[in-house]
C-alpha cells in the first residue's frame, strides 16, 4: 500500500473489502467514531437508493454520543417519514470525515450515494467479492 517515500502510518488504504451476506445484501465495513473516542466497526448495507451518507440505528447513534440536530422528512418508498439527523465522525477506508447520519428504527446501518461518490464499487456475485476503490487508485 505504501511506497518507499510514504511512511506506512501515513498511508491511506484505497481499497475497502466488503462481503455479501446470506440474504444477498452487500455489506461494507465502516468505522463510527464515538464522542469519547471509541471506534466502532459495523458492517453497513450498501443501499443504492439512499441519496444521503449513512443511516445508523437510532439507539446506536445515541449510544456513541452523536449529537442529534433535529429531524427531517425522508421519502421511504411511497410515503414520507420523519427521521432524526445526527452529525458524527466516521471513517470509510481510512478516510475520516464528518457526516450527517439519519437515525433509523431498523437495526441496520446503511451507506448511500454520498459516501460512495468518487469511488468505484465492484460487486461480484460469482466470487462473492465486494470492493470499493477510490476512483484514482484503480487507474
Amino acid at each position: 500500500m505504501a511506497n518507499e517515500e510514504t511512511p506506512l502510518y501515513l498511508a491511506k488504504p484505497k481499497t475497502i473489502k466488503g462481503q455479501i451476506d446470506e440474504a444477498g445484501r452487500v455489506l461494507l465495513p465502516v468505522t463510527l467514531m464515538a464522542s469519547d473516542g471509541f471506534e466502532l466497526v459495523v458492517e453497513a448495507v450498501i443501499n443504492l437508493e439512499f441519496t444521503g451518507a449513512i443511516v445508523v440505528p437510532e439507539s446506536l447513534a445515541r449510544s456513541i454520543g452523536w449529537r442529534c440536530l433535529g429531524a427531517r422528512r425522508v421519502q421511504i418508498g411511497s410515503h414520507i417519514e420523519l427521521l432524526h439527523h445526527y452529525i458524527g465522525l466516521m471513517s470509510l477506508g481510512g478516510t475520516t470525515q464528518t457526516v450527517v447520519a439519519l437515525g433509523s428504527y431498523r437495526n441496520v446501518a446503511e451507506v448511500g450515494h454520498k459516501l460512495l461518490s468518487g469511488r468505484r464499487l465492484t460487486v461480484d456475485f460469482a466470487t462473492q467479492e465486494v470492493i470499493v476503490q477510490n476512483s484514482l487508485a484503480s487507474d
Partner: protein
C-alpha cells in the same frame, strides 16, 4: 440485524451496543420530531413562497425558536452552519420543493 466485525484489536467500543435503550434515554434527551416539524412547517411554507422559485431544490434548515433559517445545497454544510450559530439548537430540514423530503431511502 446489525453486523459487527469481531476480532479486530481496534474494535474498542463494541460493548456500547449492550447498553439498553432505557439507559440511553437518560443520557440523551428525546427530540419530538412531529412537534419540531409542526413548529417549522409554517416558516417553510412562507420561505417556499418567497424563495421557492429562486432556490428551487436547495436545502433549508430552520431553527424554530429564533425562526432563523439557513440555505444551502449540501445538508451537512448547512447543518454545520446552523449549529455554529445555535450550538444548543435543534433544527428541521426541508428541501425547497413541492416534496420537502431531503433524502430518499
Amino acid at each position: 440485524m446489525l453486523h459487527l466485525i469481531e476480532g479486530k484489536p481496534w474494535q474498542k467500543g463494541i460493548y456500547l451496543l449492550d447498553l439498553s435503550n432505557n439507559v440511553m434515554a437518560l443520557v440523551t434527551k428525546d427530540i419530538d420530531m412531529e412537534e419540531l416539524d409542526k413548529a417549522c412547517w409554517p416558516i417553510f411554507q412562507q420561505l417556499m413562497e418567497e424563495l421557492g422559485e429562486r432556490y428551487h431544490n436547495w436545502i433549508v434548515v430552520i431553527e424554530p425558536v429564533s425562526k432563523q433559517y439557513f440555505l444551502g445545497q449540501d445538508d451537512q454544510e448547512v447543518l454545520s452552519r446552523a449549529r455554529k450559530k445555535h450550538p444548543l439548537g435543534v433544527f428541521f430540514a426541508y428541501r425547497l420543493n413541492e416534496n420537502p423530503a431531503i433524502d430518499s431511502l
